[in-house]
């Protein structure tokens, strides 16, 4: 159905089929949610054990079809009412409430694994101060170096010099075309064959820089190419040199296009840096694995690491939004 139907109800509005009316749509939402709850089957689950005694249908430990249908309807109804109630709030409040609800469900899911919390607390310091610190440090250095490399790669890719173009496209093609894990191995195991024996951290930083430099060169190229040629031509007709035009006219505008995907790359790198754990670098993923294996408590450590990665990414999402706002000042009218 089209938007105009909502904006200005036509005289035919009363003739709309039932499933397009407000009540009809809510019933469909309810039926869909209840169907999902039925398929998942909450009978004899923790929820069942909690709810069934309260409503007076047994103790909820039995996996009967009645329990299954009843709980499906109950959960479907609850979720529908929840969605309808949330929609009465202002938009920002809607987002916050739904985030909080999802987070709660998420944590309850982890909690249901019966984790050993003292084990986690005891190992939190090394996971954060050694693991997360190393991850951040490696990622920050790599993204900084990759940005420089990417700019060189993008300019070479756009240049009229044959060798520069060839080197840039060869580099981009190889490092985009092979797995990062393989590049990490090649750099760590291969360079010593040439007489250059690097430590794990520099090897890892080189691998991440080369790989992400290749992806980001394409981002930078696209950003530069998004600025109309007419601007360069206008600069030339004013007698400006090409480097000056690039620096003062094209790049300041291209930055705005480049920033969002670059932030995206950084968040991806935070997680891809876990690949250098094979070199024995004590980043977050390495420590999560070895600490979990010490007493066969893998899940405790993996979930903790997941939450730490997520928290760091979240902070960088906020920083990215702020930078975007800064470079997007010219678009305030949008």
């Amino acid at each position: 159905m089209s938007v105009s139907d909502d904006a200005a109800p036509s005289p035919l509005a009363g003739a709309r089929p039932f499933w397009q009316t407000g009540l009809g749509r809510r019933l469909i939402l309810f039926a869909a949610l209840a169907a999902v709850a039925f398929v998942i089957d909450f009978s004899a689950s923790d929820i069942s054990r909690l709810v069934m005694p309260i409503v007076g249908f047994g103790d909820g430990t039995e996996a009967s079809i009645f329990d299954r249908v009843f709980l499906a309807l109950l959960i479907g109804g609850f979720l529908t009412l929840n969605i309808l109630a949330v929609r009465l709030l202002p938009f920002v409040a809607q987002v916050l409430v739904v985030w909080a609800e999802l987070l709660l469900v998420f944590l309850a899911f982890f909690y249901s694994f019966d984790l050993d919390f003292p084990y986690i607390v005891e190992r939190l310091p090394i996971l954060i101060f050694t693991g997360a610190f190393t991850t951040l440090y490696v990622s920050l250095v790599s993204i900084a170096l990759a940005s420089v490399l990417a700019m060189a790669g993008a300019l070479a890719r756009l240049s009229k010099s044959g060798p520069a173009y060839a080197v840039a496209t060869f580099y981009i093609s190889f490092f985009r075309g092979t797995p990062l894990l393989l590049q990490v191995y090649i750099i760590y195991l291969g360079l010593p064959q040439l007489g250059l024996t690097l430590d794990p951290v520099p090897s890892g930083i080189i691998a991440l820089t080369l790989c992400y430099g290749a992806y980001m060169a394409e981002i930078f190229r696209a950003g530069i190419q998004s600025i109309p040629r007419g601007q360069t031509e206008a600069g030339l007709s004013l007698g400006l040199s090409r480097p000056l035009i690039m620096r003062k006219i094209v790049l300041p505008q291209a930055i705005k296009v480049i920033i969002p995907p670059t932030g995206n790359q950084f968040i991806a790198m935070l997680k891809d840096s876990s690949l250098i754990s094979i070199l024995g670098v004590w980043e977050l993923m390495f420590l999560a694995r070895t600490q979990g294996r010490a007493e066969f408590k893998h899940f405790e450590m993996l979930i903790t690491a997941a939450l730490i990665y997520w928290a760091i990414s979240f902070v960088f999402e906020l920083i990215q939004a702020r930078i975007e706002r800064h470079y997007g000042k010219s678009d305030l009218g949008r």
Partner: protein, 277 residues
């Protein structure tokens, strides 16, 4: 040609560490004595051989043996933690000096690394889920069995285990698996077996002490029958340093003779597995 290439590389990379190719005779030993530090690779994924404590230090049988080795060489010890396939790739280039990592000296590995001294013999056993009906290893024929990829247990399941060492206890291939599933390490196979009998795996094969450590940690597993083979486990060094090999062999023999190895074995495994069973 090689010389030319090396010198070109040396010129262009002047100022950087140069250590290509196999270790030269005595080179590693000289470095250990010069720096006063023995750098040992360890894979802290295998309690009770090697695991990491909450403060980042290491503990286990391999760790104690390595520490004793260093102290008898008159050196301090330092550990590095490269992945298993990085260690077994060889050409360490001086990044670390020895591996005290419960490595079996297979024929294939002996082409890449040197194995100067066997320091204990670990029993390999099958384990099943606690709910399994299997009573002996014969009951495991045709089943889905999990283990580490590229390790001696996989070679055993596939019937191509060749151990390149003297005094290897004779063994037979007792089980014909229906399917072999390999994992990054054998403890990952334990996680699949614990889900339930036959859900993902019917059985695993691993070192008996590792299985025991998992059972002690609450895994619902059960050892089936007697160990199927005993594998000698050796200190490994980069190829080509005979002086270091001799020194390591001398110290390990000394530790065996004076009862240190037996004592450490009792401490970590509850039994003495430092000699052939």
């Amino acid at each position: 040609m090689t010389t030319l290439w090396t010198s070109t590389a040396a010129l262009s990379l002047a100022g950087l560490v140069l250590a290509g190719g196999p270790a030269l005779a005595g080179e590693v030993l000289d470095r250990i004595q010069e720096t006063g530090t023995l750098t040992v690779s360890t894979d802290p994924a295998y309690p009770p051989q090697s695991s990491q404590t909450p403060d980042g230090s290491f503990e286990g049988f391999d760790i104690d043996v390595a520490t004793e080795l260093a102290s008898r060489m008159g050196a301090d010890i330092a550990f590095v933690t490269p992945a298993w396939e990085i260690i077994t790739a060889g050409n360490w280039g001086g990044r670390w000096d020895v591996s005290v990592g419960s490595m079996t000296p297979t024929a294939a590995r002996a082409e890449i690394l040197d194995f100067p001294a066997i320091y204990y013999y670990t029993p390999a056993s099958f384990a099943v889920h606690a709910d399994s009906a299997a009573e002996s290893v014969d009951d495991l024929n045709g089943l889905v069995i999990g283990t580490c990829g590229g390790c001696t247990y996989e070679f055993y399941l596939n019937g191509n285990l060749e151990i390149d060492a003297q005094d290897v206890p004779a063994f037979e291939y007792l089980v014909e698996p229906g399917e072999v599933r390999t994992y990054e390490t054998d403890t990952n196979a334990f996680d699949d077996l614990r889900i339930g009998d036959g859900d993902r795996l019917d059985a695993v094969i691993s070192a008996l002490p590792t299985i025991q450590a998992a059972i002690d940690a609450g895994y619902p597993l059960r050892v089936v029958g007697e160990p199927v083979f005993y594998e000698p486990l050796s200190v490994a060094i980069d190829k080509g340093d005979a002086e270091l090999a001799a020194e390591v062999a001398r110290i390990i023999q000394e530790m065996r003779d004076d009862g240190t190895l037996s004592e450490l074995s009792e401490k970590w495994y509850g039994v003495d597995i430092s000699t052939v069973q």
